[in-house]
Every structure is written in C-alpha cells, then in structure tokens.
C-alpha cells in the first residue's frame, strides 16, 4: 500500500511524469515512422524526376516529364494505344496471370502435399521440379511456342510452369515441417489419413503455402511481362515493347509504372490475406 502512495505523492513534487512526457514528445518530433520515410523517398524521387525534366536537362525522348506521362495515361485510358485501351492491355495481362495462378494453386498444392507426405510422390516429383525450376522460363518459351503455337495457351502455360514450382516446393516444405506433436495429438483423437491432412497438415502448412504463392506470383508476373515482350498482340508487356519500337517513351514509362503498381498491389493483397488467414503465424504459443 505504501509504495504506490509514495509514488503518487512524489510525482508532482519531482515531476517525473511531466519530464517523461516532454522527453517522449521530443523524441516523437525527431522520430519518423518507417512508412513516412518510405513515402518521403518516393516523393523525393518524383521531385527529382520533375526537376530534371522541367529544367530540360534530359530530352523528353529519353525521359518525358511526369505531366506528359499523366496526360498519356488519361489518353490511354480513354482512347487507347495500338487499338486497345490501357484497360484492355491490363485486362489481357491480368487474365493470363489469373488463369495460370488458378491452375497452379489447384495443382501445385496437392502435389506439394503429396511430396511432403508420401515417399513415392517425393521420388516422382522432386527430380522433375528440381530439374525445370532453375531454368529461366524464357529459355523454354521457344519450345512451348513450337509445341503449342503463339496463342493464349502457350503464354498461360509458361506462367503456370513458372508459378507451379515455388508453390509446390513451399507446400512440401510446410508439410514436412508440421509439428509431430500436433500430428500425434490428432491421431490419438482418432483422425484418419484424410482428416489429418485436412485438419492438421494443410492448416499447419498454410503460412508456407501463402509464402509460396507470393513468390510464385512475383516470378509469374515478371515471366508474363517478358513473354508479352516477345510474342503477343495485347498486354502490358506488348504495350511497352511496341511503344519502345516507335520511341514513344511516355507510354513506355507509363507501362513500366503500371506493371510495378500491379506487382505491388498483388504483394500487398497477399500479405493482407496472410494476416487474415493465418493470424497465429508468428505468435509465440
């Protein structure tokens, strides 16, 4: 009883808490959050871009001013470039990666579970995946074009292959590192093989699976854009490539910015999904 009382009495006398508060306020004044620093960096870069173009240090052919890019963006959204609007290009790219991702998730997760869970499946799939995974997708694109032609299918197939490996490998790792105690607990509660997979193994591996999807989407997106640069008649990569051939630099810059924005949005979306689906991940329990 006496201690808190004396503390309360001494407070206004020595004034510990007011000084403490000032110190906190001071440090708050100098302390920038990491996010603020990131935002300031972006603003700084934009300012330099604007400055060097406004002072005409660099020719617009090499680097158009931000205003020109914005104007072009408006034009592209309303009128279009190369017979399609920005939306149509974006739509073509997103459809390809969406389809490939959908198929990859549907197939790579079961395959990953099988690799992690079953010795024979590991024997079959491990060398196959490890063989083709290190090959840059663009290196086997020509072969896919020879086999499947230049249509949508070969592009989706290429991206699918690029996404498949990281998801399957991450899933297998997640399955292999499942806590034995949890598996045994479920077994001693009467779990059958399928119940074990559904109630223990898949939820345990979910953080790794989502990380695999994140990595896969990153690889898939860069593969997609690269594939569109080579062989396509629509899509963001095609838009950038054809604009470059006619030295329409503002469209090139705009295309690169949109590609970056989409990649950033996908990454953020997946991180949010990870927080929502696996709130226990990283919790000390």
């Amino acid at each position: 009883m006496s201690q808190p009382q004396s503390a309360r009495v001494s407070d206004p006398l020595i004034g510990t808490s007011p000084t403490g508060r000032t110190a906190a306020a001071q440090s708050r004044g100098f302390h920038l959050s990491t996010r603020t620093i990131s935002v300031l960096t972006l603003i700084f870069l934009l300012a330099i871009w604007w400055l060097v173009t406004a002072l005409e240090w660099i020719e617009p052919l090499f680097l158009p001013p931000p205003s020109a890019v914005l104007e072009k963006a408006w034009l592209l959204m309303t009128k279009g470039y190369m017979e399609s609007t920005l939306w149509q290009h974006l739509d073509a790219s997103l459809q390809r990666i969406g389809l490939a991702l959908g198929f990859a998730v549907l197939t790579a997760i079961p395959v990953g579970i099988a690799i992690g869970h079953n010795r024979i499946a590991r024997g079959i799939f491990d060398p196959l995946i490890e063989f083709y995974r290190p090959i840059p997708p663009l290196a086997y694109l020509p072969l896919i074009v020879i086999w499947c032609g230049i249509g949508e299918f070969s592009k989706v197939l290429l991206i699918y292959l690029a996404i498949f490996a990281p998801i399957a490998i991450a899933t297998a790792t997640g399955v292999r590192t499942v806590d034995t105690a949890k598996v045994r607990a479920a077994q001693s509660l009467g779990a059958s093989r399928w119940q074990l997979i559904r109630h223990v193994i898949v939820p345990s591996a979910l953080p790794e699976i989502l990380t695999g999807i994140r990595i896969g989407l990153g690889v898939g997106w860069s593969t997609l854009v690269a594939a569109e640069l080579i062989a396509a008649t629509s899509g963001l990569g095609f838009m950038v490539q054809s604009a470059a051939q006619f030295l329409v630099t503002d469209v090139v810059v705009l295309g690169i910015l949109v590609i970056a924005l989409i990649a950033f949005a996908m990454e953020m979306g997946l991180r949010a999904l990870q927080r929502k689906l696996v709130p226990w991940h990283g919790q000390t329990h």
């Binding site: 806590d179 105690a181 949890k182 045994r184 607990a185 479920a186 077994q187 001693s188 509660l189 009467g190 779990a191 059958s192 119940q195 109630h199 223990v200 939820p203 979910l206 696996v278 709130p279 226990w280 919790q283 000390t284 329990h285």
Partner: protein, 263 residues
Amino acid sequence: MALLQLERICAQYPGAAQPVLSDISLSLGPQQLLVALGPSGSGKTSLLNLIAGFVEPSAGRITLDNVPVKGPSAERGVVFQDDALLPWQDVLANVAFGLELAGVPRAEREARAREMLALVDLAGFESRRIWQLSGGQKQRVGLARALAADRRVLLMDEPFGALDAFTRVQMQELLLQVWQRSAKPVFLITHDIEEAVFLATDLILLAPNPGHIVEHLKLDFGQRYSAGESARAIKSDPQFIETREHVLERVFSQRRAIQEQRA
C-alpha cells in the same frame, strides 16, 4: 472395462546401439492410476509412445482388452507435455476436435466441449484463441480435449510439468476427481516425486540404460483423497512422507550408480 497389458516389451530406435526399453511387463486396469517415474533417459516417454501406438515395440506385445494395439487410436487418449493444441481453432473447437473427427453433430459436440471446459475451470474461454492463453490454461484445454471423447485409457506425458505450483496442485486434484468418477485406467508420466506418490495407485520406478522397471509400489494416497481426505492432510501424513523419502532415496541411489558407472 478396459484392461491394458504390456508383455515383455522392448524398444529400440533405428541405428541406436542400446535399446531404450527392455523387458517391460505391466498391466493397467480400471480403478488404476499408474505413474511412471524416472530420470530423463529412462524411457518414460518412449513407453507412453508405445502404448499410444506412435511407435512400435521391437519385441513383446501390447494389448487392450486382449486386442493388440496397432497404431494410434481414439480409444487411447493422450495429454501431451507441450499442449499440442491447434492454433487455427479456438478453444471450444480444440476441445470438440476429437468428437468432430468422430462425426458428432456440431450442437452435440459443442455442448459436450462446454461441459469439459467447465470441468477444467475454463468456462467463458470458449472463443479465445490458443495463443491468448497462459501455459496452465493451454494444458487444461489439452486435458479437456482428451477427456471430451469417451476414452478407454488416458495417457498423460508430464501433463503438469509446465504449470506453476498452485495450478499444478489444482490440476492433480482435478485429475483424481475425473479418474475417480470415470474409473478409467490412467497412465501418467512425471519427474515430480511428490506428484507421483500422491496420484499413483501403482508407482513404477524406471532406471535408464536400457529403461527397465526397478520397483513397483502399490499406493493408496490418491484413493484416500478421493474418499474425502484433504490433500494437505495426506501430504503431511508420516506414511506419505516416508514413502516419498523412500522413492527419493531410490531415485538418488540410481543416479549415484549411473555416475559411478561413468567414472
């Protein structure tokens, strides 16, 4: 009623030179609470894993009501050292998990789980997440989960090891109440001598290299508690103290023997 029998059990890990357990025989029936006590390396947990069916013995036979034990099953409930709860389920779903696996309808299994949570003094914690619980609360959820389904035998691997002294005593008394009511055989591992002497109807002392039974004591302090005597009165009874000292002496003499062997 359930009768668990182990006949001349040996166990050896692949690649290991010495077996972890050699020639273990015991039987565990209704109204019995068998406590295995021994230093680390004496094969306590291996013994439990054998009975649970997580590993197979290299020799010998384990039967439950004359049916050979093959692999883990819901008839032998296990409470683990570290709670082994599923963090993607809330407390209620964890307790109801065994019943869910057995296909019990939701309303029924949740009612049963609520009952069990009340039994372990965790009513009101149903929708908590696992990582929001303290160590003692998690251990109690683990116990409730093992009790929720109707087990024939209950196996417990140092279930109270991580608890503070006060919670530990509460849990021991709770276990005796549950055991008394259900009359089911319980197999419990501990390294706490007082806990072992207080709970056991049958106390086996294990010694390492390889794990074997050195002494089998029949005790009745747990039954006296169930009959209404207070825990404090029992623990200060000269007979209790004498037994505790005897067990302590046996454990220490074993340890001395091991040290001499090494030296």
